[in-house]
Amino acid sequence: MESSLFFGLSTMAYILAMVVYITYIGFRKKAIGVSATGLTVFGFAAQTLAILLRWKEFYQMSGLGLLRSIPLTNLYESLVFFVWCLILGYLIVEFRYKNRSFGAFVTPVAALALLFISLSGMSTQIEPLVPALQSNWLLAHVTLSFISYSAFALSFSTGLMYLVVTTKRGEGAYMFWTVTLGVFGAVLLAMVIDFIRFKGAGLAPGSEAFIKNFLFKSTYKNGETSVRLLSYLATILIVFVTWRYGGALKKIIEGFKLQPATLDEITYKSVAIGFPIFTLGSLIFGAIWANQAWGVYWSWDPKETWSLITWFIYAFYLHARFLRGWRGHKISMVAVMGFVAVIFTYLGVNLLLSGLHSYGSQ
């Protein structure tokens, strides 16, 4: 597989870019900033090439026609595409706002997602398509969905940064972001432990076995009540530590020299771009496709329902902003909650609930 070489290159480039962006924030030397951008652009180019190569491989293997062979059919491929959209969105923001500091926040997300792929032993094989996925709507529905997810991811990070920079302990909004971040961290840690145990078990890679037998089994879903209790206590502890030392994070992000007003604006703009694309690509195209494949445009399956919940949250964001003039803490919290719903729609439904959609678990 020639595409894997370029995937490797892009992962390396994003990890290096992350290091250089963080160095840049420390030293504020233009040369460092330029090289960080250069690395990101290089990683992006390599990733673009890799996706195109994989598309070609899939096309040659499946014999399904070019448009139906887009490599967006399993968790691995969709994560890669998500990272690609995120980096593209970030490069646009960097160019428009002439501010590199933000890269120190985005490249780690990209690098983490790609590392998550290689650590998890997620299946990177090109898999044959089940008949329901053999549709031209796949291209339109999935690409637009992920473009909107990436726009929402941007609004999440700027919204969160806004909260970190502008809140103090004792405020409700401070409580909100520290708890959100703490729970995020704890869940991520639990998953890392599961990965390590999964790797240790020496089973064949493949996300299905992992999700079924390992996910949260060493922590929240452990057979022993004491372990479960301990996991929840540890989560509370992590949340408490985030709450207690949230000020340190504030100092770091203040170093980015981003104006809160700029953060608020980027949050709004990302939502304003993501929302119509999400409505069209995820909800409308998804409904049309479902109607073609199963004869129902809406069946209240968990994936659809969670998409609708996500849609409601962002619709709320827009109405609160336009009709009630919400700004600052309140509106940023809504943006953060919106992305939590996005993550649940994308991963949670597959990992924790069942549905008609195939990627993730089947």
Partner: protein
């Protein structure tokens, strides 16, 4: 919004137009929907009790189940309270839009007026500079610039010779958000039309069978009742050859009443017959992962076949508003009536011939003394460690027939022939017997739907997309350019003011460009 009037209708109106109600409905729909994604909908007791074991523990699960069941959470998206929430949502959306629309309508239709220097400098986007060019020349450049930016300028001249050019565009874009609201109502109306005038049903149709009845879930019968009523009705129908009028007559019933009792048992009669001629599965290489599966369906209307179509996933068949979707497939219980379709090629390389025969039948290979007898059929042939044939799956994943070949002398040879493995088709004497199909043992699983509301829903989707584009990517823009002659310096004082209701920075850049052109033109 909240008027001071105290009449009851005003109170009701302000209740439904309040943003607080909207938030409450959003939150209620969202939160209850979450419960509906955790509890598996319309699932068995065992499925959901297991879910509840995980969530609340073994002790509490049965009582939690009872509470949730009583509240309708086991089929919540069709429960009265969830549907009421959706109705409330629609009413709130409608009332909110009607409440706000007149004001927006007035803004959309208000003519733009000259502003005057003082007010211009209070606008969000503004610029001012002096040029050494006569006002008339500046005015013509400004007019050209406004025209190329898409503005049709009006002109106002004051007594002192000052000229103001002003224009607005895309005032109608303010209606975009109301178009999205209207679209959501259209979509909901389409959904209601589908529920009232359509149906959702299933049909498992074996190869070679035809029917004019499809099956849906009956609302108020238990499984047992449903099965027994269905069996008796289907029996009556079958003995009447599928003719509802005759079946009703035989049962001494009015045809309408007979139809009604069918519908109550979840049996939906169609105005025509549908038959499954053939069903095929194609696999990825030698794996058991299906690449495609399809059924050849024929519609028989008034005794005559009218349409034949290969139906596959994503490619349904439509007839008289009824859609047939390929959704699943499987093996029928009784495999003894299947027919093997064999292509036979004698050893001398003659043209292949097709033989169709049942288990136990035999045929002779042309030009030889050899007789081939079909001994048994295995839908998913595999061999265990001791070499004994087994059936490894519930599907027809590896159809194979065992044949016994004899030439009249000596003992015969027994051999398995598998459809997916042409290397098993060669007989010892050099002739080939290929298994093309084992017909009549698979059924095709079809979803059968009638939804006259789907076009209303699609219309709503289109207007929703249009409304979103207008609401998010277009804005109501206004621009004023004021040209004042400056007597002292024989030049011109130029002022530009502009505003837009959305995405102001982008419009600001466009205005800056225009200002730059005017400045250049004036040097």
């Amino acid at each position: 919004m909240a008027s001071k009037s105290n009449s009851i209708s005003d109170k009701v109106w302000s209740f439904f137009s309040s943003i607080k109600l909207a938030i409450a409905i959003f939150a209620l729909i969202g939160l209850t929907s979450i419960v509906g994604t955790v509890i598996e909908q319309q699932a068995s007791y065992e499925t959901n009790i297991r879910v509840l074991y995980h969530l609340v523990g073994r002790g509490l699960a049965p009582s939690a189940y009872r509470v949730l069941d009583a509240l309708g959470f086991m089929n919540m998206y069709r429960s009265w309270w969830f549907l009421s929430l959706l109705v409330l949502f629609a009413v709130n959306l409608l009332v909110c839009s009607i409440d706000r629309f007149p004001a927006i309508w007035r803004i959309m239709h208000a003519p733009i007026k000259p502003l005057g220097a003082e007010k211009m400098m209070k606008m969000p986007i503004k610029a001012e500079f002096r040029l050494h060019v006569a006002p008339a020349a500046v005015e013509s450049t400004a007019l050209a610039g406004m025209k190329s930016a898409g503005f049709k300028a009006a002109r106002h001249e004051e007594g002192d010779g000052a000229v103001e050019l002003y224009a607005q565009k895309h005032a109608w874009s303010r209606a975009g958000v109301y178009l999205t609201h209207l679209s959501i109502l259209i979509i909901l109306a389409g959904a209601v039309a589908g529920i009232l005038f359509g149906f959702k049903a299933m049909l498992n149709l074996p190869e070679g069978y035809s029917t004019n009845v499809v099956f849906s879930r009956s609302a108020d019968l238990s499984d047992q009742e449903e099965n027994s009523i269905r069996a008796s009705l289907m029996g009556a129908l079958d003995s009447a050859g599928g003719d509802i009028a005759r079946a009703a007559q035989a049962a001494n019933e009015d045809p309408a009443a007979f139809k009604k009792s069918m519908e109550q048992a979840g049996l939906i009669p169609l105005d025509f017959q549908v038959s499954c001629q053939q069903f095929q599965v194609q696999y990825y290489g030698q794996t058991d992962m299906p690449k495609a599966y399809r059924s050849l369906l024929t519609v028989i209307d008034h005794g005559k076949p009218v349409v034949s179509k290969w139906v596959e996933v994503n490619h349904p068949l439509k007839y008289k508003g009824v859609m047939f979707y390929q959704s699943s497939y499987g093996l029928v219980d009784d495999l003894s009536n299947g027919i093997a379709v064999l292509s036979v090629k004698p050893p001398d390389g003659q043209q292949a011939e097709t033989e169709r025969l049942k288990i136990g039948q035999s045929f002779q290979i042309p030009g030889t003394q050899e007789t081939v007898r079909l001994a048994e059929f295995n839908p998913a042939l595999a061999f265990d460690d001791s070499g004994k044939p087994i059936t490894y799956s519930q599907m027809m994943t590896n159809p194979a027939v065992r044949v016994e070949i004899t030439d009249g002398k000596g003992p015969g040879v027994s051999k398995w022939i598998a459809q997916r493995y042409p290397e098993t088709w060669r007989l010892p004497d050099g002739s080939t017997v290929g298994l093309q199909d084992f017909w009549g043992v698979q059924y095709t699983g079809l979803q059968v739907r009638k939804d006259p509301g789907v076009w209303i829903v699609y219309l709503g989707c289109i207007t929703l997309a249009l409304g979103l584009v207008v609401a998010f990517f277009m804005s109501h823009k206004k621009i004023w350019i004021r040209i004042e002659p400056e007597q002292k310096r024989k030049g011109t004082r130029l002022m530009i003011a502009a505003t837009s209701n959305k995405n102001r920075p982008a419009f600001e850049r466009a205005v800056e460009k225009l200002a730059l052109e005017l400045e250049k033109g004036g040097k």
